[in-house]
Amino acid sequence: MEYAIEVEGLSKHFGSYAAVDNISFSVPKNKIFGFLGPNGSGKSTTIRMLCGVLLPTAGNLRVLGKDVKTNTDFVRQNLGYMSQKFSLYEDLSVEKNLDFYAGIYGLNKSAREVRKRELLSMAKLEGREKQIAGHLSGGWKQRLALGCAMIHRPQLMILDEPTAGVDPISRREFWGIIRELADQGTSFLITTHYMDEAERCDLIGFIYNGKIIGDVVSPIHLLEQERAKGIEDVFVRYVDRMNKEESSPGIGGYNA
C-alpha cells in the first residue's frame, strides 16, 4: 500500500518536556485522516514536524514516501497546510491572495489563471475576486484559505482545525469540498474538536499527552471495537484510561 504519511518512533522534546513521545502511525493515500486529541496533546507539534517546519528530536517521518528531513523541497512543493487562523493577507483582495501564493509556489502565468478559476469555483468565491479578504465572512475566509493552501495542487493537505469558529452550514459545505477532493486523489490530515466531523473521516487516530492511543482505524470499526455509541465516548474512555495508567503505573489493569 502507498502511504501519504508514515511516522515511526517520532519524538519532540522542548527541554525536558516531551510534547510528542515516541509515536508511530501511518496513513494510506487518498484518505481523510482525522487526527484527534485535546488541546496541548501534541497535535500541532506533530503537524509542524510533518510540514518540515520543526525538526524532530528523534524518529522517522515520511511524507508521500519521502523522508521529510532530506527532501524538504519535495515535501514543501507537494504539501498544503491550512491553519485554524486562516493565515490570509486580510488587507489584500481575494485575487491578490491567490496570486501571491501562486507566485510563491512558482506557477507560471497561464497555469495561474487556470488554477485561480478552478479554486474560485471550488471555494464558491466567483465574483468576489476584488473583495478584500478581511471583509469576507468566516466560511468564505475559510474556503479562500483552503484555496490558497492548495494552489500548487498538493497531494497531501494538512488542515489544523480548519472549521474552528465557522457556522454549521459552512462547515458542511467545507466537508463537501474536502470529500470531493479526496475522491479526486488528494490525501488529508485534519484535526478537529467536532465529533460529527470525526465521524466523516475515513480513518481516525487519537493523541493524548504526546502519545497515540489505540490504532489508526475507521470510525465505524472503532465504534464496534469499543462498543461505544459515539466517537466522543471512545475519546473520553481513552483519556480516563490514560490518566489511570499514569496515576498508578504499577497496576496497569487495562490493555488499550
Partner: protein, 382 residues
C-alpha cells in the same frame, strides 16, 4: 539540499508587500508627515542662532570714533545696545543680573590710540552662562572689530598714502570661523536632521514588516512554502527602499524651501550615499523585525535605537565634547557616519575621497545586519 534563490518568489513578495503598503494608510503617511513634523520641530526649535544680544556700553572716550564703533556693534544685528553705563561696576551689576549678556569698555584714550598709535585696549565682556549665546557674541564681536579695523586702516591709508599702520596690531582679535562664518545654525543642523528623518522613517516602517506577519499568523503559512529567508527579506526590502527614498527626497525639498540650504558638494554623490543609508537603516529595521515577537516589542526596540542615535550621533551635541566611552559608543551608530557624510557634502562640499571611511563602515553595517537578519529568520522557522 535547499533550492536556489528564486526571482519569481522574490518578486511575488515585492508585489505583495507593495500592495499591502498602498492599502495601509500609515505606511503612506509616514514618509510625508514625519519630514514635515520633524523639520518644523527641530529646524526651528533647535535654532540656537542668537541675535539682538543685549549689550552694555561703557564709553570713556565719548568721541565720534568711539560712537562709530558702538554703532557698528548695533548695526551688525547681533547686538542691541541696552544701556550706556558710567562705570565698570555698573556694567558688572548688569551682567550679574542678566540684564545684559555682553558689555564693551572703550578706554579714554581710544581716539588718541587711533590717531597716534598709543597702546589701548577695548574690552569685550560676555556672560558665559549660555555657551551658545556667548559663542555667538564673541564671534560677532570679533567680526565687527575686524571690519572696524579694516575700515580705519583703509581710511588711514587713503589719508596718508602710506602702508600698514602699526597702531592696531595689539588690538586684532584672532578668531577665525571656517565654513559657517555667520554661525548660521540651520546650515549645521539641517544635514543632520535630514539624516535623522531618513533613519526614523525607514526603521519605523521596516521594523514591523515581519512582526506583523508573525502576529497575523501569515508567517506560519509562508513557512510551509518553498520560500527562502533571503527571498522574503530582500523582497520585503524593495518597497521600503522606495518609500524611504521618497521620504528622503521630500525632506530635502522641504529643507531647501524652508531653510534655503544648498548642497555645496556633488549632488549625485549626495543622492547616491543617501540611497546607501536608506539600505543601511532598513536592514536595522528588518533585523528588529526578526528579533521582536510582537509589534509592541518592535516599537520598543525601535525607540531603543532611535533615542541614543539622536543623542550620540552628533546631531545635537558635538561628539568632541563627549567622554571617551560615550564617543566610542557613537561609533556603533550608523547615523553618526551618515551625519558626517551629509555635513561633509552639504556644508563643506567635500568629495568621496574624504568620506571613504564612512561609506565603507555603512556598507559593512548593511551587509552584516542583512546577513544576521537572514540567519535569524531561518532560525525562527525552526
Amino acid at each position: 539540499m535547499r533550492n536556489r534563490f528564486s526571482f519569481q518568489r522574490f518578486w511575488s513578495i515585492v508585489k505583495k508587500e507593495f500592495f499591502q503598503i498602498i492599502r495601509d494608510p500609515v505606511s503612506i503617511k509616514v514618509p510625508i508627515v514625519i519630514p514635515i513634523v520633524w523639520i518644523v520641530l527641530f529646524g526651528y526649535s533647535v535654532q540656537n542662532n542668537v541675535d539682538h544680544i543685549a549689550l552694555a556700553v561703557f564709553d570713556q572716550s565719548k568721541t565720534q570714533e568711539s560712537r562709530e564703533l558702538v554703532s557698528l556693534f548695533s548695526n551688525s544685528g547681533s547686538f542691541t545696545v541696552a544701556k550706556d553705563v558710567a562705570s565698570i561696576s555698573e556694567l558688572s551689576d548688569l551682567l550679574d543680573a542678566g540684564k545684559v549678556r555682553s558689555g564693551i569698555v572703550i578706554p579714554p584714550n581710544f581716539q588718541k590710540a587711533l590717531q597716534s598709535g598709543e597702546a589701548a585696549k577695548v574690552k569685550f565682556l560676555v556672560d558665559g552662562t549660555d555657551p551658545t549665546i556667548a559663542g555667538t557674541a564673541l564671534n560677532s564681536a570679533s567680526l565687527v572689530w575686524k571690519d572696524y579695523i579694516a575700515d580705519i586702516t583703509g581710511q588711514r591709508m587713503n589719508l596718508l598714502g602710506i602702508g600698514e599702520s602699526s597702531g592696531f596690531n595689539s588690538l586684532v582679535l584672532a578668531t577665525d570661523i571656517k565654513y559657517n562664518p555667520t554661525m548660521e545654525n540651520s546650515v549645521f543642523s539641517i544635514p543632520g536632521l535630514i539624516a535623522l528623518i531618513v533613519q526614523n522613517i525607514t526603521i519605523m516602517l521596516s521594523a514591523f514588516t515581519l512582526v506583523r506577519e508573525r502576529e497575523k499568523g501569515t508567517i506560519e503559512q509562508l513557512m510551509v512554502t518553498p520560500v527562502k529567508a533571503s527571498e522574503l527579506i530582500f523582497g520585503k526590502l524593495i518597497p521600503y527602499i522606495v518609500i524611504g527614498y521618497i521620504g528622503f527626497l521630500f525632506s530635502l525639498i522641504i529643507c531647501i524651501l524652508l531653510f534655503g540650504v544648498h548642497i555645496s558638494g556633488s549632488f549625485p554623490l549626495f543622492l547616491g550615499l543617501c540611497f546607501l543609508f536608506v539600505l543601511c537603516t532598513l536592514s536595522i529595521g528588518i533585523l528588529i523585525s526578526t528579533i521582536a515577537k510582537t509589534q509592541v516589542q518592535a516599537m520598543n526596540y525601535t525607540s531603543l535605537i532611535l533615542l541614543p542615535s539622536v543623542l550620540l550621533s552628533g546631531f545635537i551635541f558635538p561628539r568632541e565634547a563627549m567622554p571617551v566611552v560615550i564617543d566610542t559608543l557613537s561609533y556603533l551608530i550608523p547615523l553618526t557616519y551618515f551625519i558626517e557624510i551629509t555635513r561633509g557634502i552639504m556644508v563643506k562640499g567635500v568629495g568621496i575621497e574624504f568620506l571613504i571611511t564612512q561609506v565603507t563602515v555603512l556598507c559593512i553595517f548593511t551587509l552584516a545586519m542583512l546577513s544576521i537578519a537572514c540567519m535569524r529568520f531561518k532560525k525562527t522557522l525552526d
